[in-house]
């Protein structure tokens, strides 16, 4: 029996379950044609089995010992079958495949979007009045279709990524107070100190978003907070920290440019829990965060300055109460705001480095 299953590689878990259902009806997978998306089955005795699909995954002997049979190998894909396995193949390959496709898709759309809309928009500008209306409609329609496609694809990948990363995220339940803190991530030292101050005042952080901090009444003697930045993470990242006793209070849930905020309660007199006890590694953690802050700061300030500069050079008065004038003022405010955050970030970075050098890591 042959069955076609389009887009199966975007529904790995569903496809595995589907193959398992086929097996209970006596249809056992014997081959897969990747080009035609056809699954080829053979009729035998019905059986309860488990299927696992892997992609670009190194062959591991342990899987064979655990009863996994490499039933079908098609290019980089392997379809594993087992009856009662004690271990499972890693999903790392599938995760990397999704991640690659997601960021490839983002790059392509960033280039394609202006390219697709530009010809249509210029057409609208140069068309005569009677042909104007249909073109406006066509442009809008094309844009709507593009945007829907882009966002639905992005949403899909994001969902897959989040699921494979296994983020267990806590929502604030008993929030006592809520505090706004813009750009907290860019000044980790100050933020951590502020969190300790709040703790001393009887408020323990329960969860955080990009802008807000939610505090509950303090329930632990002491809490250690860590603010982390990673260029790239894999599914083991959250797992290892959580197993070690860290509680996830905020994360960007992305596998690249990942940000996170962690907490671990401890008793006074005990060693302060830390993400690393190695001084060199501690410096690395800080450097990573500081580099990211510097990059974002440079890009933002460059763009803001350019947009303010362009207006000034075009001979407009600096202060004006039209659209351009107000945008310019807002941009200037934003530049000042970012400068303040960045200066505080540099100060915090140097202060923390000094403290580490003096061996005074215990303040966290």
């Amino acid at each position: 029996m042959k069955k076609t299953r389009l887009l199966w590689s975007y529904k790995i878990e569903e496809t595995e379950q589907w193959l398992e259902q086929q097996a209970t009806r006596g249809f056992h997978l014997i081959d897969v044609n990747l080009t035609t998306r056809q699954f080829i089955f053979e009729k035998r005795e019905p059986a309860v089995v488990q299927y696992q699909i892997t992609y670009k995954q190194q062959n591991i002997e342990q899987l064979e010992y655990a009863g996994w049979e490499r039933r079908v190998v098609a290019r980089e894909w392997v379809f594993h079958v087992a009856q009662a396995p004690s271990i499972y193949p890693s999903r790392d390959g599938i995760f990397k495949r999704y991640r690659f496709q997601m960021y490839a898709w983002m790059t392509v759309t960033l280039v394609l979007l202006p390219m697709l809309s530009l010809p249509l928009s210029t057409f609208v500008l140069f068309s005569t009045l009677d042909s104007f209306v249909p073109f406006v409609i066509a442009t809008i329609l094309a844009l709507v279709i593009e945007m829907t496609l882009i966002f639905s694809m992005f949403h899909f990948f994001k969902k897959q990524e989040k699921r494979l990363l296994g983020v267990q995220y806590k929502k604030a339940k008993h929030k006592k107070i809520k505090k706004l803190r813009i750009g907290w991530f860019y000044e980790p030292y100050r933020t951590k100190q502020w969190l300790q101050k709040m703790l001393n005042e009887g408020y323990e952080l329960e969860a955080a978003s990009n802008l807000f901090f939610y505090f509950k009444e303090r329930s632990h003697e002491a809490v250690s907070y860590e603010i982390l930045y990673e260029n790239k993470i894999d599914p083991a990242y959250y797992q290892i920290h959580q197993e070690a006793g860290w509680e996830l209070l905020h994360t960007s849930k992305t596998s690249i440019l990942n940000t996170s905020l962690w907490a671990m309660p401890y008793k006074k007199g005990e060693e302060v829990p830390a993400i690393t006890y190695d001084i060199e590694e501690r410096k690395q953690v800080m450097k990573k965060n500081f580099k990211m802050t510097t990059t974002i700061f440079s890009i933002l300030v460059l763009f803001l300055t350019l947009s303010v500069g362009m207006g000034v050079f075009s001979g407009e008065p600096f202060i004006a109460f039209d659209f351009n004038g107000i945008t310019r003022m807002l941009n200037v405010i934003l530049i000042v705001f970012w400068l303040v955050i960045y200066i505080r970030s540099v100060q915090g970075y140097r202060q923390e480095l000094r403290e580490i050098q003096d061996g005074d890591v215990s303040t966290f």
Binding site: Q62, L63, S90, A236, E243
Partner: protein
């Protein structure tokens, strides 16, 4: 292979203990616990240290991963990992031998 052998000669103490503990497969946290026990609490590793080292070792092919019943990642040493572990053990044995030699000499001086 040559490059990897060189890269891990010598190993850092952290990397050595992580690889040593993985001669029986473990979760990330299992590694932290077993090293703490083995060294009587002298070597306490943070989860960031473990994550960083494991990622590098996985890239270099020293360890491999699979999931347990709950799909939690288990780490296991590979054949290449064993070769590197043995290389390091030989090195430490040599160092140990030298320590003993010089200890005797130092004792005689006293």
């Amino acid at each position: 292979m040559e490059r990897i052998l060189k890269k891990y000669n010598p190993m850092t103490e952290t990397a050595f203990y992580i690889l040593l503990s993985l001669t029986t497969p473990k979760h990330g946290y299992g590694i932290i616990k077993s090293i703490e026990q083995l060294t009587n609490g002298r070597l306490k590793l943070g989860s960031g240290t473990i994550y960083g080292t494991l990622t590098k070792m996985q890239q270099d092919g020293l360890i491999q991963v699979y999931g347990d019943q709950d799909r939690k990642t288990i780490y296991d040493v590979t054949e290449l990992g064993m070769v590197i572990l043995q290389q390091e053990i030989r090195r430490i044995k040599e160092v140990h031998q030298h320590v003993l030699q010089y200890e005797e000499a130092l004792d005689e001086k006293d």
